[in-house]
């Protein structure tokens, strides 16, 4: 029987967050797309992508070191995840993670998020294509968690970006000692997860705190070794990410609703209260286990639509069972009008 009360609550929450998702461009000061940090904005994990890039309030989310390091406190086995996304315009991305339990209450995990362009043509002032580069952008996470109670866990992760524009060897820059790889300083992410009851869970993640002034993740990049090019500055906005999870059943099928609200502070200050210096976005996702072990997903990240599916199975090796899940996601990037049908992920546990 459908629990009407739960349905109303879930619908209201979805409505609120969807309208939050629509309210992009709140700021008139800067466009979020012009800031560093698109790798983490795009998420990691095809399972989570299929449901609107939601994952911070779900203990099963991987890689937890990225999504919410507090989730590592709930690991019982060694988990792994491997994901590949091929998006339109030669964009190739992916994520991998490995994580496990340490002691009775702690967990540790490592994650790498990757995005790149496989075919960037360097065109010179003569309108000649002088070379093709394959720039890539990556983020590394090392997360730790401590489960304080059966319901609460706290997490900490250290993250760092490594980008390579792959332009140093291009004839276009002949005569200039180009530096095209850049590593950010280590930034800190803090998180909390709480499983309120069998149905509700919540999460709070604060991203991109640094050890510099204003705790800002800001650094200088010098694209030439001989200082012949302008140096530039990178800033990854501080993010407050609040997640909510709801579990129920509809027609006897397990149904899950996930919601996240994100606040990006697009300013190099400790805290900015001016709404002009914030960009708010939202994510929402649903999933339903339509047949045992087969899950259908739908979601929305900002204005982008996603569909996803997953199937769980086990591989037996001797007496040991290895649970594996294969996930697929379809993505439509609404603003750009691009759809990407090729996202595949694999995840599992080694008991």
């Amino acid at each position: 029987m459908i629990n009407l009360k739960n349905l109303v609550v879930a619908s209201l929450a979805v409505g609120v967050l969807t309208s939050s998702a629509m309210a992009i461009g709140f700021t008139k000061k800067s466009e979020l797309g012009g800031f560093d940090g698109f790798v983490e904005r795009m998420g990691g994990g095809v399972r989570e992508l299929g449901r609107g890039n939601t994952g911070s309030a779900d203990t099963a989310t991987m890689p937890a070191a990225y999504w919410n390091p507090a989730l590592l406190g709930f690991r019982e086995n060694l988990g792994y995840t491997l994901n590949v996304e091929k998006r339109d315009l030669d964009r190739l991305g992916g994520a991998l993670g490995i994580e496990g339990k340490v002691g009775k209450r702690m967990g540790v995990g490592f994650a790498v998020l990757y995005r790149g362009d496989r075919d960037f043509k360097i065109i010179d002032e003569d309108d000649q294509t002088v070379s093709t580069s394959k720039p890539f952008f990556s983020m590394f996470y090392l997360g730790f968690a401590y489960r304080a109670t059966r319901q609460d866990a706290f997490g900490l992760s250290f993250s760092m970006s490594y980008d390579n524009l792959d332009i140093a060897d291009s004839k276009y820059f002949e005569g200039i000692e180009v530096e095209d790889s850049f590593r950010s300083p280590v930034t800190v992410n803090l998180s909390w997860f709480r499983q309120w009851n069998a149905k509700w869970s919540s999460s709070v993640v604060i991203r991109n705190l640094s050890f510099s002034k204003n705790l800002s993740a800001r650094w200088t990049k010098n694209p030439s070794k001989d200082n012949s090019l302008y140096s530039t500055e990178g800033v990854r906005p501080k993010i407050l990410q609040i997640g909510l999870g709801y579990r129920s059943k509809i027609l006897g099928k397990p149904v899950y609703a996930w919601m996240e609200a994100l606040d990006y502070q697009v300013a190099d200050t400790l805290l900015a209260f001016d709404p002009q210096l914030h960009v708010w976005t939202g994510r929402v996702g649903f999933e339903c286990e339509v047949v045992p072990n087969a899950t259908f997903r739908v979601g929305m990240d900002d204005l982008n639509w996603m569909l996803g599916a997953g199937y769980k199975f086990e591989i037996r090796v001797g007496r040991r069972k290895f649970p594996i899940e294969v996930n697929y996601a379809f993505l439509y990037e609404t603003s750009a009008g691009l759809w990407s049908p090729f996202s595949l992920g694999l995840r599992g546990y080694i008991p």
Binding site: E31, R41, K121, I123, L165, R218, L229, T232, E233, S335
Partner: protein, 549 residues
């Protein structure tokens, strides 16, 4: 008064618009050796023009031949290219844009008859692989004869630390060819004046002199004392008087001219000035000089002229749009220096550029002086012609300018730009045709090319290059990697069908900034071009970032 100014501006703008409509893209394809053109110069025949390009360590020349259509616009007839012989040599020296001293900021390009052709200075690489060592000059006769002419440096010059550590002090900054005596005069800065004599039967002979400012005589360099710059002033430019045939010198101690048996100071007004350039031409004759010196970190300069029968130089007047002489001129606004001067009839075209190249353009000098062509909305007089007046279709640094015979009865004007090729005018600068390399594009947004596709510095521009088959309303937007829109460049802008490129270079470019004028961070961005007929094309650009503000 204001109304008349406005009407005049309107009329001028209308003529500009008409000019821009006429301003055709004269040629498509691989026309030039490179779009980064440092110098243009006459090639000695009607309609023929040399362009010198350098891109990194690749230097070369292009010979352009033009015709004038029945409508009066310039049509590119044919072109040919040739690299320079050695890639360790070039005519465009290192830091020519950043250099502050006027005589080091220009590339003299002089046509010296059929035996020497176009002359350009030549610089060799130093130990840091920078083109900074004066090495002689190029003598470009035709595409098969781009000749290098090395010049010896006297050993005493290399013994002196001042010159040894700063060889640009004897870089070539001026040529003058005496066709009667068959002598080429070369200004060599601290090393004085060289004569390249081709009158003899046993080949050319080079002799270098310094000017004794006490006696007015040229003396051969003998020992270190010959490099005493108080007694022997630096010679920055040289010119042959078109009427008397006498040699004139622009020096660090005034202007000198040859008078029967010795050099004498040709101007009391400029007798103690650091005169960095001298140009003669036009009808009636104009002699234009530039004074320029470094005052602490600032460049102080002035433009001077001796017009027609005048006996003395006077400062060039800067007039407002109504012809009223202004107290301040462009030299009071910024650190301009002269790059070139071209003459057509009564008008002198003086090309100037600021240190760094952020502003460049040319002044038009009539009999009264330089007249402003517009009073802008901020109440500022606009004297410089260039991008705003349609001489270039993109904001590119103008580096060189010359006049050349387009046909028997018509003189043409040409300008060289860094990145936007060459612009040529058949009507004294009223309308221009742009000649530059362009890649072939597929129709109906089938291919979008960002030119160049890497934005190196904040404010640099990447042109969105596309083609449509019929008149279309074009929308161009920039997206980040995660497909967040960061910029709308144009929305529903009308663009015409074109055989080569439908892009409007004045609007269809991205400068690496978002809709709020903020520099976008280092990374790859995606540029979507849509028309109103359902076509969509994508281009890519990379920016090396800017400053967080």
């Amino acid at each position: 008064m204001k109304k008349s100014v406005t009407l005049k501006s309107l009329a001028f703008s209308a003529s500009l618009l008409a000019g821009m409509t006429l301003c055709g893209n004269a040629y498509a394809g691989d026309v030039l050796f490179g779009n980064i053109v440092y110098a243009v110069g006459p090639a000695g025949q009607n309609g023929a023009l040399w362009a010198f390009s350098r891109d990194g360590s690749y230097s070369g020349v292009t010979l352009l031949n033009f015709n004038v259509s029945s409508k009066g616009s310039v049509v590119t007839d044919s072109t040919g290219q040739s690299p320079v012989e050695s890639d360790t040599m070039t005519a465009a020296r290192y830091e020519i844009l950043e250099e502050s001293l006027a005589e080091r900021r220009r590339i003299p390009a002089v046509y010296a008859g059929s035996k020497l052709g176009l002359l350009l200075p030549m610089y060799a690489m130093d130990k840091n692989d920078r083109y900074s060592k004066p090495a002689g000059f190029y003598s470009i006769l035709d595409l098969k004869n781009v000749n290098e002419h090395p010049i010896d440096v006297p050993s005493i010059a290399t013994d002196l630390d001042t010159l040894k550590n700063n060889p640009i002090m004897y870089g070539i900054s001026g040529f003058a060819y005496d066709s009667t005596a068959k002598r080429l005069w070369v200004a060599r800065g601290a090393l004085g004046l060289m004569v390249h004599d081709i009158s003899g039967k046993n080949g050319a002979k080079d002799t270098t002199f310094v000017l004794n400012s006490k006696t007015g005589l040229l003396e051969k360099i003998k020992d270190k004392s010959s490099l005493d710059l108080n007694l022997y002033p630096e010679i920055f430019d040289v010119s042959i008087h078109p009427e008397s045939g006498n040699l004139w010198l622009a020096t660090s101690k005034g202007v000198w001219s040859w008078s029967s048996s010795k050099f004498e100071k040709a101007s009391d007004t400029l007798k103690n000035s650091r005169v960095t350039g001298i140009w003669m031409g036009g009808s009636p004759l104009q002699i234009i000089t530039e004074t320029s010196y470094k005052n602490k970190d600032k460049i102080e300069g002035g433009l001077w002229r001796r017009y027609d029968k005048a006996k003395e130089f006077s400062k060039v007047n800067f007039l407002d749009t109504a012809g009223k002489v202004q107290k301040k001129d462009v030299y009071d606004e910024a650190d301009y220096t002269v790059s070139d001067v071209a003459f057509i009839g009564k008008t002198a075209y003086v090309l100037v550029r600021t240190v760094g190249g952020s502003i460049s353009g040319y002044l038009k000098l009539d009999s009264l002086g330089a007249r402003a062509w517009e009073l802008d909305e901020d109440g500022k007089l606009q004297w410089l012609y260039g991008y705003e007046t349609g001489a270039t279709d993109r904001k590119a640094i103008i580096t060189s300018m010359c006049s050349f015979p387009l046909s028997k009865n018509r003189m043409g004007l040409a300008i060289a730009t860094l990145g936007n090729g060459v612009s040529v005018s058949a009507d004294s600068g009223a309308t221009w045709s742009v000649v530059l390399n362009r890649a072939k594009l597929n129709n109906n947004l089938g291919s979008i090319r960002m030119v160049p596709s890497v934005i190196i510095a904040p404010g640099d521009e990447s042109l969105v290059s596309y083609k449509v088959g019929r008149e279309s309303k074009i929308t161009i937007e920039v997206f980040s990697y995660d497909m967040r829109k960061v910029r709308t460049i144009v929305k529903d802008a009308v663009r015409n069908a074109d055989a080569v490129r439908s892009t409007n270079p004045k609007e269809d470019y991205w400068d690496g900034r978002d809709d709020h004028g903020k520099d976008c961070t280092m990374g790859v961005y995606y540029i979507r071009v849509k028309d109103n007929h359902g076509h969509i094309g994508w281009g890519k650009a990379m920016t090396l970032g800017g400053n967080f503000r």
